[in-house]
Amino acid sequence: MTVFIVRRLMQSVLVVLVVSMILFAGIFAIGNPVDILLPPDATQEDREEAIQALGLDKPLLIQYGLFLANAVRGDLGTSFVHNVPSMQLILHRMNATLELALLALIFAVFIGIPLGMLSGAHPNTLLDRTLMTGSIFGFSIPNFWQGLMLIMVFSVFLRWLPSTGRGETGTILGIETSLATWDGIQHMIMPALNLSLYKISMVMRLTRASMRETLPMDFVKFARAKGLTGRRIIFVHVLKNIMLPIITVIGMELGSLIAFGVVTETIFAWPGMGKLLIDSINVLDRPVIVAWLMIVVLLFISINLLVDIIYSVLDPRIRLSDVKS
């Protein structure tokens, strides 16, 4: 296990390095930030000065080298626009995104898995068909439209939930979060639901498919022949077997929940890091974009590692040393 983790971490360093190279080259090709940062009537001297201040006069390779050297020390550059370290900028926003993703994940797991199991245990019944049809809607409704409809129904017509913002925040274990106050939770419900509807549908369908696959297996019949209760068969024998594919997908989706909640954050004016990325791209704030993407890469790598470790806990046949990393 330790060997596995160490080897995995070393590979991760390589991945991060390669990603940073691609990123740096890519962002260099997009355009010149000075054109956007300075007003159109800026003089040539102003331009020269800005280019020099931002270090854009140096060749690409030198810039990359400087970036790497600083990054190793934990400094991912200073925002061109806000003039604060981009890390600080992102981390400040990350709380809001993480709590939203977490709640969306909780919805996906605690709504998706039970409904999928129900559906899989009673195939081709009215309940199953209703749930499966519902999940198609969950899949196919465009996220932004769904968000607008939620606002229309729950904020405009029913006036149950606030439509925008993060609400009042409190602190739990020293972390600032909306989950600490009732107002904050009210603000979170709709964005989290909007973010999770797709995931709920997906987890539901996946769970159903796994149930359908596992239920006819001999070990389930053997468990019945042993005289076990239906509850024990479903919640111990079957559930433990179907968790593996579900964990895989949830792990993959958690990363995308965090990284790509942009649409939801925009609609509900949620001050998360997704919105920060869009804003930064608009003004070509290179350090923030690079830092943002580097953090997301690290996030994906950690989640995948975590999923592999959970695998080995769930399924005794998987030895971590055998997992292709």
């Binding site: 042993k226 005289g227 024990r232 077997n241």
Partner: protein, 326 residues
């Protein structure tokens, strides 16, 4: 048979599957009985309804299948129409089952001790400690060395033969009155097969458990069973003491089945095979279902033959049986 009440008495059992393509009569008018301590061999080709008979006894037939008529008397009590809760109390407790493929019957993600202890605790209110000790002793009885250690293992750490021993140990954990063994040695090496047969025979003798041993292997039945029922296309075509049936088969199907076993005396000759194929259960031939493949068929065979009882206590259903003089 009249000396004691049989442990299991199946009477005119019919189990059918109601599929979109039609009604599949998987078990068609099957009757047999097993006494305490007796091993009954249920022989037939794949798809002849042997396994469905066993699952019917446990009431584990899944839709679209169901028992349509007949009686299953277990210790004198009819199981057909029993509630799910009553059946659940019997399964694994009074009636246990051993499955064909030991690679598939144990849950891959649960430890052996979990799978054994849960069986005990499903039926008896005993402490974990007591259940654990019984599980350990159970493993020891089927010839698994250092059971204490093996209990902590997962199924994938066992070989096929060892897994089947575990499955057998689970079946005998609660000293059932009846064990249904569904081809438990088919998936195993011949050497392992011998060991398993020995263990099972020993357990049955020790505990007085009645057993239905389902197989397509006549050699296994010959060495193990006391009596044998031969099934063909959902019906029992012949029944009798194991030696009589193998030495002097009466029904042409049994005759063909025994003739198909390769043996020393016919080395170098072309092996015998029964012509034709098992009929589809969806469209059974009229009259005797074996008629299209039978060498003895006559006009009479278009009517379903009655079950005939011979003076020597054998039963078969055929108009033109072999070895008729018996």
């Amino acid at each position: 048979m009249p000396d004691s009440e049989p442990t299991l008495k199946v009477e005119k059992l019919h189990t059918s599957f109601f599929t979109k393509a039609g009604i599949v009569k998987a078990v068609n008018d099957v009757s047999f009985s097993v006494k305490r301590g007796e091993i009954l061999g249920l022989v037939g080709e794949s798809g002849s309804g042997k396994s469905i008979t066993a699952f019917s006894i446990l009431n584990l037939i899944d839709p679209p299948g169901r028992i349509t008529s007949g009686k299953i008397l277990f210790n004198g009590r009819d199981l057909v129409g029993s509630s799910e809760k009553e059946m659940q109390q019997l399964r694994g407790n009074k009636i246990a089952m051993i499955f064909q493929d030991p690679m598939m019957t144990l849950n891959p993600v649960l430890r052996i001790d979990t799978q054994m202890i849960e069986t005990i605790q499903a039926h008896e209110k005993v402490s974990h400690r007591v259940a654990y000790e019984r599980a350990r002793d159970g493993l020891g009885r089927v010839g698994i060395s250092s059971p204490e250690e093996r209990l902590k293992a997962y199924p994938h750490q066992f070989s096929g033969g060892m897994r089947q021993r575990v499955a057998i140990a689970i079946s005998f954990l609660l000293k059932p009155d009846l064990v249904l063994a569904d081809e438990p040695t088919t998936a195993l090496d011949v050497t392992i097969q011998g060991q398993i047969l020995y263990e099972v025979q020993k357990l049955c003798r020790e505990t007085g458990t009645a057993m239905v041993w389902i197989t397509h292997d006549l050699a296994v039945v010959g060495g193990l069973a006391d009596r044998v029922c031969v099934m063909y296309a959902g019906r029992i075509v012949e029944e009798g003491g194991v030696d009589e049936v193998i030495d002097t088969p009466m029904h042409p199907y049994t005759h063909g089945l025994i003739g198909s076993v390769p043996s020393q005396n016919r080395r170098g000759q072309v092996l015998y095979q029964i012509p034709g194929m098992t009929p589809s259960l969806l469209s059974l031939p009229k009259g005797c279902t074996f008629r299209p493949r039978c060498t003895q068929k006559t006009e009479q065979c278009l009517e379903v033959p009655q079950t005939l009882r011979t003076s020597s206590g054998r039963m078969m259903s055929c108009y033109n049986p072999f070895n008729q003089g018996l």
